[in-house]
Structure formats: structure tokens, C-alpha cells
């Protein structure tokens, strides 16, 4: 690809913001001024510049945070600094939903219109915002403010939700739960959110109850205080790990039968062992905090409320697997989580819990926090690697698996936030003790994100094996006078289950037995007032929008699927309804067979289950 730079220049504000990430340019050739004559006779760069490619996203963030969008001048300047062809960088920037390459208002509200929020009045909110601020799209509406629609913001227990982003010298982002048009417009109009507005408190209906493990510290400690964290037992797991030695830690993790909580349920111990043994160096540890599955918000609450636990668990994992550098990749829609993590990393570094000599135990580990920029697919581990490396978040072919060739092509452990936090108890209690909770196939406790038409939406922690009915009881059941229609289990990538399925034990094996999956723990409850078509069409639109486009069956299939569903919803099938259902099945099969990642594999699941289990085709549109 050609390094063909245009003539567009960054504004001085953009340049300063980008330089804050990349440092000051050295010569005229990487964006500096035309300096001494010797510059005209020599330059250095090449690999030296390109090795900073992984700073492409941080630099683009800096530009957008400063002025609200990424101008051609800013993009060109970043490209000069990193020796990236502008055409390629444009491909990266446009891949991510939160980046705008069109002029946009400095203050923008990202309003969630995804499954849960639309059950809770998101469309009414959008209509009000349209009246107040003009049409969606982020163009300057009134008073330097605009708004855009957004997929799930992970605030489902507080639906409807919005994310307010403000560009400027001191950029800020604020999540807004139980959002109202008034709240959004006044939030945007506030002279400046110099300090992020106090975040809406998470809903932890079990707060104060005994038996909580993953959630036990939440609400009891100040999430920004390392001392609070230590007073509640923080860093005892790491101390114990150092006593056990890396091999001992690996043994406990294997014995605990802990499996990944991100959705794939892969044995954590096996993953760690593979990386620990890998001869290629360095090893990397990645914490996948790109929680983007609609209806899922468990990791957000852990990250926001107990960030030191995540950092301690990463350190422990690094110690056990011989990784000296960790990355935590937080989705762009979680500003508070990113901020709390960054604060926790800084505090841990200052106090010697990160760095070249962790806790004086002669091992090295450090963590870098990376922000996503709005791409569901980056939750897929190899897409996440590409994103950290500064590329489009397109999944890679496997094998090689991340344990062999992951981040920067090196052996990499990549774990979900919840998985990592579990490891602390595994090490403190010993693996077999941990494994006594839950079932033989699914050990420990599990976080469930209950949202939608329930009395007490929120985050729940229950032992594996708890039935769906019991979980719904905890959440207070459906509203008075309403009947349960269905539960969307596992988010948009999951499937609908019926009231007849309520006795299913919530385990990986139990849900599999009824043709469903736990996924990442999203439990969206729909009562009989729901417009089922509306939900299914939103899910179809979601996949069409979030397909990365790399595999043709998924890129085209998600579009064709949405079209067929719209035809059915309108009652205008091509051929008979059964023909369309057959077509949907074939599309789903093609996506399963020929897509390289889980997005394509699961994109047809929710619609298929709505048709087969809920009788979607007999459903009128309300």
C-alpha cells in the first residue's frame, strides 16, 4: 500500500493532543517543521516508526477526544508519525463505531436503542431527542450538541441508557442510566463536565447478603482506594500465589475446573498451562474487558467497583504464565471502567504491586489499559489483538490459537474479566475447595445480568446449578399482572427460551441440553407485553451492523437475514412463510459453516429460536 499523504494538516489543538500520545516529532519527515538542511539529506524511520503502530487507536482517540471527530488533517498527521498508509488508517478508523470521520458536534449523546433499552422506552427517548436536538447523526444540533443511536451500552439494569461524550481540552465521557430527554440535554448543555458526573450507582439487589464471592467487596470498599482493597483481603491471593510458585498456581487453577466466563467456557487452567510452557517469548496476558454482548453488564460492574481485583488477578495470571506485560482492553462505551482501571494501575504501580519488582518478589509485571472504540466484534479474542495492534478488529483464522500466536504474534493468555476475578478465590481457597461449589461440569459461582421486564433488574451472583426460575425469583419475577413470555439467554448471540424451560439448571451443560447457552450471562426477561418482532428485528439489525465484513457468508448473510425477517414481519414473504424460514435456516447454516468466528456462528440463533420456540410467525406486530 502506498504512503500517499494528502496535504491536509491538523489544527494545533489536534496536533498537541496527538503528540501527547506519540511524543513530539523529530524531523520534518514525521510531521515536524522543516528544520535544518541536513534533514534534506537523511532521515530515519521505517521499523523504528512502524513499531508504534499499536498506538494508532490511542492516537485516534486523542484526536477525537480533542475536537469531537477525526479530521483528515489529524488522520494524515497520525499516519505520518506512524508510517501508516492513510488509506489503511482510514480503514481502521472507520471500522470503529464511536469514531467519526465526519464533522460532529463536540458534545454527543450516544443513546442506546438496543434490545433491553427499547423495552424500557428508548424509542420514546429518541423521539424526544429528535425534537430537542434535531435528527440523529451527531451533527451539531443546538448549542454544540448532537446525538446518535448506539448499540447496547451495558447499562441494561438502568435502561434506558445513554453515554455522553464531550470533546475538548479536558474531554470526558459519562454514562447515564435511567436516561430522560431532559437528563440528556441538560447533561450535554452543562458548561463542562470538568469532573465526570457521579455515575449512576449499579444495582446490586443482593448487596449485604452472605455467600457473595465475586461481588463481596462491591459497595463495601471505595473503588479507587488500594488501601480499602487491601483491608478487604486484597493482594492476599497474589501473596499466596508467590508461595505456591507458578507451577503451584497452575495446578490450583486446573484443579478448580474453572472455565472461561466470556461465553466459550474453555478451561482456564489448560489455557494458562499452554502459555506457561510456550518456548517463544515474550508472553502476554490480555484481559478481555470488551463486554459488548447486548444484555450483559457484569464485567462493567466488576471493573468499575472492584478494579484492583482485576489488576491483582491479572498480575497473578502474569506470574503463573510468565507474562510480563498485560493489557486490559475496555470497550469504548465504559468510560468509568477505563478511568478506574487506569487509576488502579497507577496506584498499584506506585505501591510496587506492578512494575519491575512486584511486591519485592522479583518478578516483573505491568498493565496497560486500552480503550476500544465501539466494535462488538472486538470481544472476539483475536479481533481484540488486532485492535490493540492498531488494525481493524477483524478476527484471525485459528489455528494458530492465542496460546501459540496471540498478541503481537506471541503466546498469549486472554481471559474475560469475570474469569480472572474467580482466580483470586481459586488460589486463596485451593482448587478442589473452589470446585466444590456449583456442579461437576460448571464449578464456582456465576454472575447473571438480569434485565428487562423484572421487578429488580440487576447483577446477581448464584452458584452454578441454580435454576432459571430461582434466578427470576431473586429478581422479583415479572411485573404485577403480567405473564412471562420468554427469556433471552446469553444476549443477542444466545437464544430465546420459554416459560416451560424455567427449571433448567444454569450450567453450561444444562443450558446446552435444552439447545440454549449461558453465553456471557445475559438474562433478558420479556413479559407478554413485548413486541417480539421489534426485539428480533433489532437483533438482526445489530448483527448486520456489527459483522466485521471479513467473511462473506456473515457479511452478506446478516443482511439477507434481516431482509427476510422484515419481509416476514410485514407479512410479505417471497414465496410462502415456510420458504422464508427455510431461507433463514440456510443462511444461518452458511454463516455457521463458513465464518471464522463466533459472530457468524451465532448470528442466526436468536431469530431461529424465536421462530421455532415462540411461534414468532404467528405474532402480529403491535
Amino acid at each position: 500500500m502506498d504512503l500517499h499523504f494528502g496535504n491536509a494538516r491538523p489544527s494545533s489543538a489536534e496536533k498537541r493532543a496527538i503528540d501527547a500520545v506519540l511524543g513530539t516529532p523529530r524531523t520534518r519527515w514525521d510531521g515536524g517543521k522543516r528544520g535544518p538542511a541536513t534533514d534534506g539529506h537523511a532521515a530515519q524511520g521505517g521499523h523504528e516508526d512502524r513499531k508504534h503502530r499499536h498506538l494508532l487507536l490511542p492516537a485516534l482517540h486523542a484526536a477525537q477526544d480533542r475536537v469531537g471527530w477525526i479530521s483528515e488533517g489529524a488522520l494524515t498527521y497520525v499516519c505520518r508519525r506512524l508510517t501508516v498508509p492513510p488509506a489503511e488508517a482510514y480503514g481502521v478508523a472507520t471500522f470503529y463505531g464511536m469514531f467519526s470521520l465526519e464533522p460532529r458536534a463536540a458534545n454527543v449523546a450516544h443513546v442506546c436503542d438496543d434490545v433491553v433499552c427499547r423495552m424500557r422506552g428508548a424509542e420514546a427517548l429518541c423521539a424526544q431527542l429528535q425534537a430537542a436536538l434535531g435528527p440523529a447523526g451527531g451533527k451539531d444540533g443546538k448549542a454544540g450538541s448532537g446525538w446518535v443511536r448506539s448499540p447496547c451500552l451495558g447499562l441494561c439494569e438502568q435502561a434506558p441508557a445513554a453515554l455522553l461524550t464531550r470533546a475538548g481540552e479536558r474531554a470526558s465521557q459519562t454514562s447515564l442510566g435511567r436516561a430522560t430527554a431532559e437528563g440528556v440535554t441538560s447533561g450535554l448543555a452543562a458548561s463542562a463536565l470538568a469532573e465526570p458526573a457521579p455515575p449512576t450507582a449499579p444495582r446490586l439487589p443482593q448487596f449485604g447478603e452472605p455467600g457473595l464471592r465475586l461481588l463481596r467487596r462491591i459497595g463495601h470498599i471505595g473503588p479507587t482506594s488500594l488501601d480499602d482493597y487491601r483491608a478487604q483481603g486484597g493482594y492476599q491471593a497474589l501473596r499466596r500465589a508467590v508461595q505456591l510458585g507458578p507451577e503451584g498456581v497452575l495446578r490450583e487453577v486446573v484443579d478448580s475446573k474453572l472455565v472461561g466466563r466470556g461465553g466459550a467456557a474453555y478451561p482456564t487452567g489448560r489455557k494458562w498451562e499452554a502459555v506457561a510452557k510456550a518456548p517463544v517469548r515474550p508472553h502476554y496476558l490480555v484481559c478481555n474487558a470488551d463486554e459488548s454482548e447486548p444484555g450483559t453488564f457484569k464485567d462493567r460492574i466488576l471493573l468499575e467497583q472492584d478494579p484492583f481485583a482485576v489488576i491483582e488477578a491479572m498480575t497473578l495470571a502474569g506470574y503463573a504464565t510468565g507474562s510480563e506485560q498485560g493489557y486490559v482492553y475496555v470497550r469504548g462505551e465504559y468510560p468509568l471502567a477505563a478511568q478506574r482501571l487506569a487509576g488502579a494501575v497507577a496506584a498499584a504501580r506506585t505501591r510496587g504491586f506492578l512494575g519491575h519488582d512486584v511486591m519485592g518478589q522479583r518478578f516483573r509485571f505491568d498493565v496497560e489499559v486500552r480503550r476500544g472504540a465501539g466494535a462488538y466484534i472486538c470481544g472476539e479474542e483475536t479481533a481484540l489483538f488486532n485492535s490493540i495492534e492498531g488494525y481493524r478488529g477483524e478476527p484471525r483464522n485459528k489455528p494458530p490459537f492465542p496460546t501459540v500466536a496471540g498478541l503481537f504474534g506471541k503466546p498469549t493468555v486472554v481471559n474475560n474479566v469475570e474469569t480472572l476475578v474467580n482466580v483470586l478465590d481459586v488460589v486463596l481457597e485451593a482448587g478442589p475447595v473452589y470446585a466444590a461449589t456449583g456442579t461437576s461440569g460448571s464449578t464456582g459461582t456465576k454472575l447473571f445480568c438480569v434485565s428487562g421486564h423484572v421487578a429488580r433488574p440487576g447483577l446477581y451472583e448464584v452458584p452454578f446449578g441454580t435454576t432459571l426460575a430461582a434466578l427470576l425469583d431473586l429478581a422479583g419475577g415479572v411485573r404485577e399482572g403480567r405473564r412471562l413470555r420468554t427469556v433471552l439467554l446469553g444476549g443477542s448471540a444466545g437464544s430465546f427460551v420459554t416459560p416451560e424451560d424455567l427449571e433448567v439448571p444454569l450450567t453450561f451443560e444444562g443450558t446446552r441440553a435444552i439447545g440454549a447457552s449461558l453465553g456471557s450471562g445475559g438474562v433478558v426477561v420479556l413479559d407478554d407485553s413485548v413486541d417480539l418482532w421489534d426485539v428480533v428485528l433489532r437483533i438482526a439489525a445489530f448483527f448486520r451492523d456489527e459483522s466485521c465484513g471479513q467473511c462473506v457468508p456473515c457479511r452478506v448473510g446478516t443482511v439477507r437475514q434481516e431482509e427476510a425477517l422484515h419481509r416476514l414481519a410485514r407479512g410479505q414473504p417471497v414465496g410462502s412463510k415456510q420458504d422464508e424460514v427455510q431461507l433463514l435456516a440456510e443462511i444461518a447454516q452458511a454463516m455457521r459453516d463458513a465464518s471464522i468466528c463466533g459472530l457468524g456462528h451465532t448470528a442466526g440463533g436468536a431469530a431461529a429460536s424465536a421462530i421455532s420456540r415462540l411461534g414468532l410467525l404467528n405474532e402480529g406486530r403491535s
Binding site: 500517499h4 519527515w29 541536513t38 534533514d39 521505517g46 521499523h47
Partner: protein
């Protein structure tokens, strides 16, 4: 590069390649030997020469060492303009690399001392042993798909096909017997000598195949005058070029890449098949058919050979092509010469013999050469160095590219550094007169931040609009016959608004 290869770009201009490079050495035009010698001296002085290879496989090291001794890093910086630290960096990285390759194009060869430039590079490969091994070597990159093939097939004045010398009696006897004809015992003229012969009146008829000398030669006024003075000019081409428009006879030819059968040979010596996909339009005919008809009228009946028949005759006469049957070329997707017989896989690289112990055949000579600045010197009247070259969207004199549009094409311009534009008070797009000691052209100014003060650039792509070669000098290397297109002294004159 994506896989980690390191690149150094040596070019007066900051080219696209230079933008990707780990190091860019923006030397002054015509200081290539000074740079190469400084690099060579630094390699020797730092103890980075491959002494074992030098002693076993080369000759002339002592003389070379003495010559380059004067090219210290300081001298290198003075002669080339490149900071000495950069010269040192290149020397050390090149010498230390596991494998390293020197690639070049016309920036080395379009000079009055082109052969010396190449020798200076060969010296570097020899003192470091970066030759005769996989991934190393010397690689003159060709500007066309079949420049290599043209030379291989004997379309050069001193060689028969397969680089067999026309002045070698044994070789000549072999070709005379095969071709059943008497062959001239002396080498012919190369292009520059042809024009000299026209000037003297020794050459009065010219048969031009696939070349446009009326626009591609340096000092175009003279080239056109000499072509006009010929008694007879025949042009065989697929386009009606400027030269063809001057011709007494034009023979329309078929396009070799799609209207004929045959072979081409790439820079890496790989012979590949070319297949006929279309019938030539109108009266256009394949070159071989035209030539065979001509031969018949001149009294030599060559019959009507097929392309494979011609190729097999070549294989019988050129040992390095002997193993390349059409069948094998097809099956292997091309073969790199030398390929002496049908069991030979072809040769990935040349000169491997230099690593055999003892070395098979003659040792490789180091040839000491000295810096010699461009003939067209800068002075107060002509203070700016113009260098010429090509752009991605166009091809040579534009015969093949002017017929279509390109979003990259912006026509001819005089590219100047922003500093010079300011110094001479020239606005972007302003029309100026560019004057050299031989001619003048009118052209628009374009600022190019990739240039430094005192360095200007033009192409030769639009000779009908701006005849750049009216400016260039025809000072040519006596050995290669190539003119110094790369170094012209110019001045820029403002044009009064009409």
C-alpha cells in the same frame, strides 16, 4: 518489510520507497561513487569486511583499499551531503546483515560514469560477501517486463543470444553454421554510437523496433535533427510514435503481451511464457513474421517458424536456455537461467561458485573507481540541479500511457523545494522558463516538500507538452552508452505575464 526486512533508500529525492525505509540517504546527484566508497572504507576500517571471502574469491582488494582510504566519513559527507552518521549506519548495517541485497535502477546508470557507479556497488558486495548466496546479491531492477529478455536474446550490439561474444571466433562460427550466414566479426553500435555515426554521416538508414528515440534521447533538438537527416527511416511499433511519424516506412506490429506467442524474462532471470489472447488489429503483424518476410526479400528464406520453433533454435544455441522447453516453462511456471539441461531446476541465484573451495573459474575483481561529479556543472548561471525520472502513473515518453487517464496524473511540472519556490518568488502553478546550457522549456512550478533547496525534478512523460530532454545533456558513459539524464544544470526564469 512487513516481515522485518530493513530497507535503506539512497536517492536524492525523498521517494515513496524512502518513506518506508529505515534509513534514507538523500545524496547529492552524481555522488554515488563517493557514497559507495565511503561506505566501503568504513566497512574496512571497522573490521567488518569479510576477509576470508575477499582473500579466497576476489582480486584487487589492496588497490581498492588504497583508493577508498581517502573517502573518510567526513569526505563522504562533504561530497554527498549526507550526514556522516548516516553513512556509517548504512555501512555497518549492510556489512553486519545476515543477508543483504543492493538493488538499483536508472539513478545509478543514467550517468556519464554509469559503469563506474555499478562497479562501486559491486565492490561493496564483494568486500562483504553479499553475493552468490540466497537472499544476497546485486539486483539491477528493470523498468520493463522484458528488458532482461531483450539482452538475453542478443538484442545488444556485442553479444549473441545467451551473452556469447560476437568477437569470439568460436561463438561466431557456431552461430554462422546454425544461421547459414556470414556474421559481422565486430560488435555493432550502441544507441549513443548510432547517433554519433549519424552525425558523422556513417549511418544513413535506421530500422527502429519498439523505441521512440525522437523523444527519449537526451538533447532532443539534436536527436530529431539527426533522425530527420537520415536517408531512410523504418519504424516498427504498435503505436504511431513521434519517431514513426518521421519514418519513411511504418510497419504496424502486434502487441507482444497479448497478440503473440513467446516468452519474456524478468529481472530475476525467470523466463515465462506469453500467450496469444487476441488477433492483432488491422494490418498489424507479429514481429517475427515481419522479420521473416523482410529476410526473405533480402534473400534469406527462414520459412514460417512458430514461436516454439524459434525458441527451440535458441535453446540449441544458448547453453543457459538449453533446458527450458515450452513444456517445462509451462509446468514450472517459468525457469530462471542458467538452465543447461532438461533435468536442471533453474538457478535461484548467480555466482554461487565464488563460495566453492577452491573457487571454480576466475576470481571476482574489485575495481577501484573514483568520484567524478556530473559533467553539467553548476555555476552562477545554472545554479540548480535538475534530475529527471518517472512517476507511477506514466511510462517513459507516454507512448503507452498517454492514451488513458489516471487520477494520479497531473502533467509535467517543475518540482521545487518550498524553500526554492520562496527564494525565487514562485507561486504554485506559476509558469516559468527552465533553461539549461542546451535548451529551454516552459513549465509550471509545483512545490514538493520531498525536495531540498537546489534540487529540482521533472519527468520525461509529456514530451509533446514539455520536452524535458531539450534540457538534458547527452554526455554518455563511453562503456554503456547511456546519457547523463540524471544530472542537468538549470536556471529558472520568471515568465512575464502576457
Amino acid at each position: 518489510l512487513r516481515k522485518g526486512a530493513r530497507l535503506f533508500a539512497v536517492d536524492p529525492r525523498r521517494t515513496s520507497s524512502a518513506q518506508w525505509a529505515d534509513g534514507w540517504l538523500g545524496l547529492d546527484v552524481g555522488s554515488d561513487i563517493a557514497l559507495a566508497n565511503a561506505v566501503g572504507r568504513e566497512i574496512i576500517a571497522s573490521g567488518l569486511a569479510n576477509q576470508a571471502f575477499v582473500e579466497r574469491a576476489t582480486t584487487g582488494f589492496e588497490a581498492y583499499r588504497k583508493t577508498v582510504e581517502r573517502y573518510t566519513l567526513e569526505a563522504g559527507e562533504r561530497l554527498t551531503g549526507v550526514p556522516k552518521a548516516m553513512i556509517q549506519k548504512l555501512a555497518h548495517e549492510y556489512a553486519r546483515a545476515e543477508r543483504a541485497m543492493l538493488c538499483w535502477t536508472l539513478g545509478i546508470t543514467e550517468h556519464h560514469n554509469a559503469v563506474d557507479n555499478v562497479l562501486a556497488l559491486i565492490n561493496l558486495a564483494l568486500i562483504t560477501g553479499h553475493v552468490g548466496r540466497y537472499g544476497s546479491g546485486l539486483n539491477p531492477l528493470r523498468g520493463q517486463n522484458n528488458v532482461q529478455g531483450g539482452g538475453d536474446m542478443g538484442a545488444i550490439p556485442n553479444k549473441y543470444p545467451g551473452f556469447q561474444d560476437v568477437e569470439d571466433g568460436v561463438a561466431r562460427a557456431k552461430f554462422e553454421q546454425a544461421w547459414k550466414a556470414r556474421l559481422p566479426p565486430r560488435r555493432g553500435f550502441h544507441l549513443t554510437q548510432m547517433f554519433e555515426a549519424m552525425e558523422r554521416g556513417d549511418l544513413t538508414a535506421l530500422y527502429v523496433i519498439g523505441e521512440n528515440p525522437a523523444q527519449s534521447e537526451a538533447d532532443m533538438h539534436r536527436a530529431v535533427r539527426l533522425l530527420e537527416g537520415l536517408e531512410h527511416l523504418v519504424v516498427q511499433d504498435i503505436f504511431l510514435t513521434k519517431t514513426a511519424q518521421m519514418a519513411d516506412v511504418v510497419l504496424p506490429a502486434a502487441a507482444s503481451w497479448c497478440e503473440t506467442e513467446g516468452t519474456v524474462t524478468s529481472s530475476e532471470r525467470r523466463v515465462q511464457r506469453v500467450r496469444k489472447a487476441l488477433l492483432p488489429p488491422g494490418e498489424a503483424r507479429e514481429d517475427t513474421k515481419v522479420l521473416c518476410d523482410l529476410a526473405r526479400r533480402l534473400g534469406h528464406d527462414w520459412g514460417e517458424p512458430t514461436s516454439e520453433g524459434i525458441w527451440n533454435e535458441l535453446r540449441a544455441l544458448s547453453p543457459m536456455h538449453a533446458g527450458m522447453s515450452y513444456e517445462r516453462l509451462e509446468a514450472l511456471g517459468g525457469i530462471q537461467w542458467p538452465c543447461p539441461d532438461e533435468s536442471h531446476p533453474g538457478s535461484l541465484f548467480l555466482h554461487g561458485r565464488l563460495w566453492e573451495v577452491p573457487v571454480r573459474g576466475p576470481l571476482a575483481p574489485l575495481t577501484a573507481v573514483e568520484h567524478d561529479p556530473p559533467v553539467d556543472a553548476l555555476d552562477d548561471d545554472y545554479p540548480i540541479r535538475l534530475t529527471t525520472g518517472r512517476r507511477l502513473d506514466s511510462y517513459n515518453t507516454g507512448v503507452q500511457t498517454a492514451g488513458y487517464t489516471s487520477p494520479l496524473r497531473r502533467g509535467e511540472t517543475l518540482d521545487l523545494s518550498p524553500e526554492d519556490a520562496r527564494t525565487y518568488g514562485l507561486a504554485e502553478g506559476e509558469r516559468v522558463r527552465v533553461v539549461s546550457r542546451r535548451g529551454a522549456v516552459l513549465v509550471d512550478v509545483r512545490q514538493d516538500p520531498g525536495l531540498r533547496p537546489g534540487l529540482a525534478f521533472m519527468t520525461l512523460h509529456f514530451p509533446d507538452d514539455v520536452a524535458t530532454n531539450l534540457l538534458t545533456i547527452d554526455a554518455a558513459d563511453p562503456k554503456s552508452g547511456t546519457a547523463e539524464f540524471k544530472a542537468t544544470a538549470i536556471r529558472i526564469e520568471k515568465v512575464q505575464a502576457a
